[in-house]
Amino acid sequence: MDFPVGCSDDWQRLDEIRRLVRDTLCAHPAELQNAAAMTASELVENAMKYGEPLPQRDGGRLTVSADDSTITITVENAAAAGERIATLERSIERIHAAKAPEELYLARLQEFGEDSEASGQLGLLRIAFEGRFDIRCAYSEPVLTMTAKRVIS
C-alpha cells in the first residue's frame, strides 16, 4: 500500500490505513489486529511527518504480512542521512537494551508530566510496549525501512 509522505494533506488516511491493516489480519484475534493497526499507524505517521517519497514513487510504502508464526509490518520511505537517522537508531537500540519496554514507556510518560513542554518520541516505545512488536530500522541511503515484527503466540 502506498501512502503520501512529507505533507499533511492526507493525514485523514490514517484511519483508513488502520482499517485496512485490521482487514488484512481479520483471521487473527482482535487484540492482535488492533496492535498491528496502531503500529502501522504510528510508523506511517512518522514517515508522513519526516519522510520523503521513495525514488520513482509518489510516497512511502506500507506492507503488512502474516504467516503461521509472525506478523510483519514494514514502512519504507526516503530520508536524508543525518542526525534524525542517528537519533532513530539510538532510540531503537535503547528499546532493545531495556529489560522491559514498559519501564521506558512509563518513564517517558512521567517526563511528560514533569516537563510541560515535553512531547513526542513516544511512538516507537508504544509499538514495543503496547503493541508488543519488535521494532527495527535499516537505512540504505536514501531508503529508510522500519520493520515491526510480532510472534503470534
Binding site: 485523514q12 484511519d15 511527518k49 510518560l109 513526542g120 513516544l122
Partner: protein, 121 residues
C-alpha cells in the same frame, strides 16, 4: 462556567458538561492529531484553569483511538487539574486494549498526584 461546551478536531470531540455539582469531560471518537499545540493543548490548558477546585470526571470510555501525539496533552491536562486542586476521576474501559495498557500507566502517575484517581467503568 455552566452548560455544555464542545471541542472538536477531525474525528475527536471533547464534551464538557457542567452539572453544577461537578463537571464531566467526555472524550469521543479518534485522535490522529498531528500538531496538538495548535488547538488541543490551548483548549485543555484553558479548561484546566477554569476547573480550579471543581469536582471533575474525565470519561474516556467512548474514546476509540489515540495516536501517541495525543498522550502528552492528556497527561499535561491531568497534571494541571491536580495542580489546580480539581478533584479528578479518570474513567476508562479495561476491555479496550489500548486504554487498559495506557491507563494502568496513568494509575502509576496518579499515585504521585494528590487529587487524581483512575477508575474502570
Amino acid at each position: 462556567m455552566s452548560g455544555v461546551e464542545l471541542f472538536s478536531e477531525q474525528a475527536l470531540s471533547i464534551e464538557v458538561c457542567d452539572t453544577g455539582a461537578g463537571v464531566r469531560v467526555t472524550w469521543r471518537g479518534k485522535s490522529d492529531i498531528r500538531e496538538p499545540d495548535n488547538k488541543l493543548i490551548p483548549f485543555l490548558d484553558q479548561l484546566a484553569e477554569r476547573l480550579k477546585n471543581r469536582k471533575v470526571t474525565i470519561d474516556f470510555r467512548r474514546f476509540e483511538y489515540m495516536n501517541s501525539a495525543t498522550v502528552s496533552p492528556i497527561i499535561r491536562f491531568v497534571r494541571r487539574l491536580d495542580r489546580n486542586a480539581a478533584s479528578t476521576v479518570l474513567v476508562y474501559d479495561p476491555l479496550i486494549d489500548w486504554q487498559r495498557v495506557n491507563f494502568l500507566c496513568m494509575k502509576t502517575i496518579a499515585r504521585t498526584l494528590a487529587h487524581v484517581e483512575v477508575l474502570t467503568s
